[in-house]
Symmetry: C2
Subunit: 326 residues, 2 copies
C-alpha cells in the first residue's frame, strides 16, 4: 500500500520541479487513455502538445475558460489574429481545454467529483508531457460572507462544512483524510498583484468547500429546506468566526490533489453576493459577468508578470502602469 512516486521521467538534464504522479502502474501501461479529455498517449504526442505548459487555469464553466484563453492571449501578445482557439477536447463534451503559449485553460464542471476526474487526467497529462515548474490556479465564482459582492478572495485554507482544513477521499470504501494546504507564497504574491487593480477589493481568507449548493450552503431557496433563517445566519456566523469569507464547491479536492502532485496551486474566486443578505443571484447579467472577469484579470496579470520575470520576452506594456481592470 505504499504509494509509488514517479518523478524521474525528466532525466538528469533538467532542474525544474516535475509534476508527480503516485501510481506505480502508470509507467508499465503501453497506453494511457485520458478518457474524459478524449486524449491519450498512443494517439497524441503529449510532450509536443503540452511540454511548454507553465500555467494551468481551471474553472467550472467552459465558456469562461474560453474567454480566459482569449483574454490571456491578448495580454501576452500571443493572440491568434482570428482569435479562434480550438477546443483541444473537442471530441468530448465532458471538459473544454484551450492553450496559448505556456498557458492552458481547462473547464472542470461543478463540484468535487467533477473537478477530481479532470485533475486526475490533467496531472497525468502534465506528467506524460514532462512539464516542469507548473502553477495551477482555479478561477471561480463563490458566495461571500460579510464581503461586498464582487470582492475577490484568494484562498488561505480550504475548509470543509465543519470548518476543518481537510478533504476526505474514500478509497476501497474507507475514508482517507488529505491536507488542503495551498501555497502561501503564491497567495501572497497574487495579493501583491491585486493592488494594481483599483476598482475591486481582494482579500486572503479561508474558503468553505461544500458538496451542495442549496442545503449544503444553508440556502433558504432550494427545493428542500428544513432550517430557519436564524439557523442559516448562525451557521454563516460560525463560518465567519472560523475565518471563512467565501463558499464554493471545488477548492478542497483541488488543494489536496495539487499538493499531492507537487504543483504550486492557488484558488482565486470572486464573490457574486453576500450570503448574509440573501441567497438568490439577483444582480444583472452584466454585473455578474463583470464580477466573473476579476479573477481572470488578476490571474492574467500575475501570469504576465511571472513570464516577464522569467525573461521569456513576452510584452510588458502593462507592467509599469497600474493594471487596467475594465
Amino acid at each position: 500500500m505504499t504509494p509509488g512516486f514517479n518523478d524521474e521521467k525528466n532525466g538528469g538534464g533538467e532542474s525544474g520541479n516535475n509534476v508527480l504522479v503516485h501510481n506505480p502502474n502508470l509507467d508499465a501501461m503501453t497506453e494511457d487513455i485520458l478518457y474524459h479529455f478524449n486524449l491519450g498517449t498512443a494517439t497524441h504526442d503529449l510532450p509536443a502538445m503540452f511540454g511548454d505548459v507553465k500555467f494551468v487555469c481551471v474553472g467550472g464553466s467552459p465558456w469562461r475558460m474560453k474567454a480566459f484563453i482569449e483574454y490571456i492571449g491578448r495580454e501576452l501578445g500571443l493572440a491568434d489574429p482570428t482569435n479562434e482557439y480550438p477546443n483541444i477536447c473537442a471530441g468530448t463534451d465532458r471538459y473544454a481545454m484551450y492553450k496559448v503559449g505556456p498557458v492552458l485553460s481547462v473547464s472542470h464542471g461543478m463540484g468535487i467529483p467533477s473537478i477530481a476526474i479532470m485533475l486526475h487526467e490533467l496531472i497525468k497529462l502534465l506528467y506524460h508531457a514532462r512539464c516542469t515548474d507548473v502553477t495551477v490556479v482555479r478561477i471561480g465564482t463563490s458566495g461571500g460572507i460579510g464581503l461586498k459582492p464582487g470582492t475577490v478572495v484568494i484562498t488561505k485554507q480550504s475548509v470543509d462544512a465543519s470548518f476543518l482544513p481537510r478533504f476526505e477521499q474514500v478509497i476501497l470504501g474507507k475514508p482517507v483524510v488529505r491536507s488542503t494546504e495551498l501555497d502561501s507564497d503564491l497567495a501572497e504574491e497574487l495579493q501583491q498583484y491585486s493592488k494594481d487593480f483599483d476598482d475591486f477589493e481582494t482579500v486572503i481568507a479561508n474558503t468553505m468547500c461544500t458538496m451542495d449548493f442549496y442545503e449544503g450552503q444553508a440556502r433558504l431557496d432550494g427545493a428542500f429546506c428544513s432550517y430557519t433563517e436564524e439557523d442559516k445566519q448562525n451557521y454563516l456566523k460560525e463560518a465567519y468566526a472560523a475565518g471563512v469569507r467565501n463558499i464554493e464547491m471545488e477548492s478542497s479536492v483541488f488543494a489536496a490533489m495539487c499538493k499531492l502532485s507537487g504543483v504550486r496551486a492557488a484558488v482565486v474566486c470572486v464573490t457574486l453576493l453576500d450570503r448574509q443578505k440573501g441567497d438568490q443571484l439577483t444582480s444583472s447579467h452584466d454585473i455578474l459577468q463583470s464580477y466573473q472577469q476579476r479573477p481572470q484579470m488578476l490571474v492574467g496579470h500575475f501570469i504576465k508578470r511571472r513570464l516577464n520575470a522569467m525573461d521569456k520576452g513576452y510584452p510588458s506594456s502593462r507592467d509599469t502602469d497600474k493594471a487596467k481592470s475594465s
Copy 2:
C-alpha cells in the same frame, strides 16, 4: 425544523400526484430564479412552458441529452421537421435542456454535487409549472462488475462505497442520512420492456454510487493509486457479493431527492466495460457510442408504451413488433 410540505398548488380540481417541494419559503418569494438553468418565475411562464411534462430524462452529457430528445421526438412522431431542438437553457453553459411534447431532457454533468444542483432547480421548475404524475429517469453510463460490456443495469438500490443504501446530505455542517429507495414497480416495468430488445441484456441489480471515478472506484490508472490489483479485485468482489453490478457517480442523490419530491424515479445505465477485467475504456468510439444508445432506446420504448396506455394518441407503430434496437 419541521419541513414544510408544499403540495396544494394544483387546487382541488386535479387528481394527479403533484411534485413536492419541502420548503416553506418558496411560496413567499416574489420571484424564484433558477440560476443554473437561466430561468425564473418572473421572467418565464413556467406553467405554459413545462406544465405538460410527464417524463424527465436526465444524463451527464449535454450531447447525449440532445441526441435523446431527437430520438424520442422521432419515436413519438413529434419530431420537428428541421430536427432542431433549441436548448431551453441556452443562456448558460451549466446545463442543457430540451423538450418535445411531454418529454423533458436535461443534462446534469458529472458527480453528486453537479446533479444535486440540477435536481433542486428541476424539482422547483416542475413545482412552479404545476406538473403532475411525473416520472424521472436517469440514463447514464457506468462501469460493470461481472457483466458483459454493453449490458444495461436498472438500479434496484443505489448503495454507497460501503454498499449501504444511503445518501449522506450535509446540512448546517451536520450529516443527515437519506434513503436511496427507488420505485420497484417502475424498475420491473422497465425490465419487462427490455425483453423487446434482442441484442443486449438488461438486469435489475444494485448500483454503487461513488464520489470519484479513479480512487473512489478502485481504478489502477489514476494519477494516484496506493492499492494493489489484488486490493482492487477484493473490493470489487465485496461489491459483487453485496449485489452491486455497476458503478456510477450520481444515482444516490438522484434517488434520495426524487423520493423526497414524490416523483417516480428509475436509474438505467449501460456498462461500458467489466471493471474486473480492466479500468481503461479501450473499446472503439463507435462501440461505446452504440452502448450509450441502449438506455435511450429502452427508456424511449417505455415512454412510448406509457403514452399509448394513457391513450394520448401518440403513434404506436412499434408496439406490436419487437422493438428494433439498431
